[in-house]
């Protein structure tokens, strides 16, 4: 049984050439393009397969930054791990100047913040602004101390970017059987997100893809399957807008004026979800091109 499944997966991989397939994003020249990966640092074949698909998609959808949602390096943080679990899988992207921005997961040594290619500048949490309309906030959800909360409030308050996007490891909402929602963290973060107009939140930790139904006006995504997979772990509930736990995946995002377009793609190039999130409350998120 297990052999048959492995064989069918292998055959599927063979027949699906690593070329970018469907693209459900506007792909406009002046919009912000980026990719999202979570729980990526295993160094296993699945990570490499996802990375190859990301590279293939970049030829059609040129993105220059990647958000890493934590668990960037599983197991040891030895110099060899940085090579086999990051530099080698993403070498084609790194070679073309794609910048990775990491958040820390529970499997990450906080000293990863000193590693230049993770662009954390020695900080456990940080913010950056790729253009005038978008600001990202990378948080350390392992250790939400009063200093970090005060920093977040200060930075959110001071930001005039219409798109405020937070990314970190532990999901505030999740339909995962293994972990589920982090309610404790939610009690501290969500009031700040609401107060200061955060619109989209990306988290990992759960080894699958889930788009949550909007919660208090916020759009939450879980993307923790860039190298780890927990098959059949989503217990669909009222929270779930779309869930996918049958294969590894990554996300592509495009922010064009008031619209955030998203697409979740498997290592084999199949689209499992796509849609739009709008800054305007009257326009609801639409899902299109979803896999069954």
């Amino acid at each position: 049984m297990r052999f048959n499944r492995a064989l069918s997966n292998y055959l599927l991989l063979l027949v699906s050439s690593v070329t970018a397939q469907d693209l459900f994003l506007p792909n406009k020249k002046d919009s912000l393009h980026f990719a999202v990966i979570g729980d990526s640092g295993t160094g296993g074949s699945s990570q490499y397969e996802v990375a190859r698909q990301m590279t293939a998609y970049r030829t059609r959808f040129p993105y220059n930054l990647v958000l890493m949602l934590g668990d960037n390096l599983y197991g040891s943080d030895s110099p060899r791990s940085y090579q086999t679990k990051f530099e080698m899988p993403y070498k084609d992207l790194l070679a073309t100047g794609v910048k990775f921005y990491a958040a820390l997961g529970n499997h990450d040594d906080p000293k990863q913040r000193f590693y230049k290619p993770f662009n954390m500048n020695g900080q456990r949490y940080y913010t950056f602004k790729p253009n005038d309309r978008v600001r990202f906030f990378a948080l350390d959800s392992n250790y939400m101390d009063p200093e970090q909360l005060a920093w977040l409030e200060r930075e959110l308050k001071g930001s005039d970017s219409p798109w405020k996007i937070c990314f970190f490891h532990h999901p505030l909402y999740s339909s995962g059987k293994r972990h589920g929602s982090d309610e404790e963290l939610r009690n501290f973060l969500e009031p700040l997100f609401i107060k200061y107009g955060v619109k989209a939140v990306f988290a990992g930790h759960e080894h699958f893809y889930e788009r949550l139904k909007p919660q208090k006006g916020l759009y939450y995504f879980i993307s923790g399957g860039a190298a780890k997979l927990r098959r059949g772990n989503i217990v669909r509930s009222d929270l779930t807008a779309k869930g996918f736990d049958r294969d590894y995946h990554f996300m592509l995002i495009e922010i064009e004026a008031d619209m955030l377009h998203f697409q979740a793609i498997t290592r084999m190039g199949a689209t499992v979800d796509s849609g739009i999130v709008s800054l305007q409350p009257e326009v609801k998120a639409q899902a299109a091109g979803s896999a069954p």
């Binding site: 906080p110 000193f114 590693y115 250790y143 101390d145 909360l149 972990h179 982090d182 404790e184 009690n187």
Partner: protein
């Protein structure tokens, strides 16, 4: 004039003492907190002395080998400088007496359930794929391959804040004080997490 019973006065006095005690703790003024902060400060001075003898770490290091080498050199230096370190050196008896009820208060019962879940997140004794038993010893490295527990934000609000680089973490039901720069376990408090 209304007479106030002695029982009521006692209750009021206890309440005042409790409020005063909490406020004093929040302001870092209790004996346990004073002791703890002094030990932390003294540790940081030692760490600073050792750091001056190891290569500095750039905040943008391209070679991960340099990060590893620096961590190891710092750990070796601190281990030698604290060769006689023992449990209770930083979490002193008085600090432990004050911290335990705080932690228990945050984590016990139905209302503490979300925080207990947080403590389990990343906790090496709960995480799948964690291999081998971690032996808890002061002044030894936290295992390189082990995940790190989350620490509830509500608890971090109530424990004394730590200087940059030092962290509270959980290992099973134990609270550890970790130096994330040298990766050394500085001290621990056993069995602080309530069973349910």
């Amino acid at each position: 004039m209304r007479r106030v019973s002695s029982g009521r006065i006692l209750k009021s006095s206890l309440l005042v003492l409790l409020v005063f005690g909490f406020t004093a703790f929040a302001q870092g003024e209790t004996e346990g907190v004073r002791e703890f902060n002094a030990r932390v400060k003294s540790y940081l001075e030692l760490q600073k002395r050792v750091s001056s003898n190891v290569p500095p770490l750039a905040t943008t290091e391209t070679d991960p080998a340099k990060i590893a080498m620096r961590t190891k050199a710092l750990a070796n230096g601190i281990q030698q400088a604290r060769a006689s370190a023992k449990p209770g050196d930083i979490f002193t008896n008085q600090a432990a007496r004050e911290f335990r009820p705080i932690i228990r208060g945050e984590l016990q019962g139905k209302q503490g359930a979300p925080s207990r879940d947080t403590v389990k997140t990343g906790n090496p004794t709960e995480e799948e794929g964690t291999t081998g038993k971690i032996v808890l010893t002061v002044n030894t490295p936290y295992p390189d391959t082990a995940p790190r527990s989350s620490v509830p934000a509500s608890l971090l609000l109530n424990l004394p804040s730590l200087p940059k680089g030092l962290e509270y973490r959980f290992l099973g039901r134990h609270l550890i004080l970790l130096d994330s720069m040298s990766n050394l376990i500085l001290d621990y408090l056993l069995d602080v997490v309530p069973k349910a």
